[in-house]
Amino acid sequence: MHAPDGFIDGPTSVALGLVAAGGVGVALRRAGQVLDDRQIPLAGLTSAFVFAGQMVAFPVAGGTSGHLLGGVLAAVLVGPWLGAVCVTVVVVVQALLFADGGLTALGLNVATMALVPALVGGPAFSGLRRLLPRGPSGVVTASGLAAGGAVVLSALAFTAAYAVGGTGTAPLAGVAAGMVGVHVLIGIGEGVITGLTVGAVLAARPDLVWGARHLAPGPAPAGAGATA
């Protein structure tokens, strides 16, 4: 979903840049307030893993591909605020080093691919997790469902930007339907990858998973007290 330069007009891009900068600033401050030393390497790993995961495009219907966005995965692993920071770094590095995602579209791309998934999808995970049975399977299921839903939300966020400042002339309804339709399919992949990854980390080191801190016995694990 990396938008190139030119899809969204200048004023909207500038406004989205300001929104994204403000959002990342808040996320950084909130993440810093509850930062535990143990989370520093974990956050680095989360960012690196999301970067690698985003390189693996998988085919969906009709000559189209999708790839992991990773915002909910990051939120479940290190908490929504720190997760938003991790994915923001991925999106910025992709734009600056790999020419993926336009420089003027950086605010848009940070908003749609980092802030919306981590800061909306993360709390959605927490809500779903409370509705599901307590235990690792509940965490995995909530992760997958929230991750899949977050991709559709990201698609809607892009559509909203297109509605305000899109340079294309196609009617909004068609673009919205197209974005939602294809991203429902991509969201299924996102949900499966997120669920499998969270399940694997839970099997190896459940104490390191922010979204499973309610399962940990004894002293509060890293990041406890971080609220979504």
Binding site: G6, A52, V56, G63, L97
Partner: protein
């Protein structure tokens, strides 16, 4: 300190898996248009895309320039991205942590 060492092991294994994804799987990944590109093509605004300002960068489009083998070029670009994202996040947070300790 044992807990810390075991986190080191976990992070090391995780980074190795990320490198494996980039080196082994990414070169075989789909090259079809992604969801947004598909919609842009179908709805006639794909041609609004402008060339990337950094399209000449040595790692543009996830390929290290000058490496003859496509798969290797992609894998190396992946390793660069993994190293940079890890270093920026872990390094940045360590600096933030030190600064907040000093002011506390």
């Amino acid at each position: 300190m044992r807990a810390r060492a075991r986190i080191g092991l976990f992070v090391g294994v995780g980074l190795a898996l990320a490198v494996a994804l980039a080196v082994v799987v990414a070169p075989r990944a789909s090259t079809e248009p992604d969801g947004l590109e598909r919609v842009a093509l179908d709805h006639g605004f794909a041609d609004r895309a402008e060339d990337h300002a950094l399209a000449a960068s040595p790692t543009a489009d996830y390929g290290v320039a000058g490496v003859g083998h496509d798969g290797l070029a992609i894998g190396l670009a992946g390793v660069v991205g993994i190293a940079v994202t890890f270093a920026v996040v872990a390094g940045g947070l360590a600096v933030l942590r030190r600064a907040s300790r000093r002011s506390a």
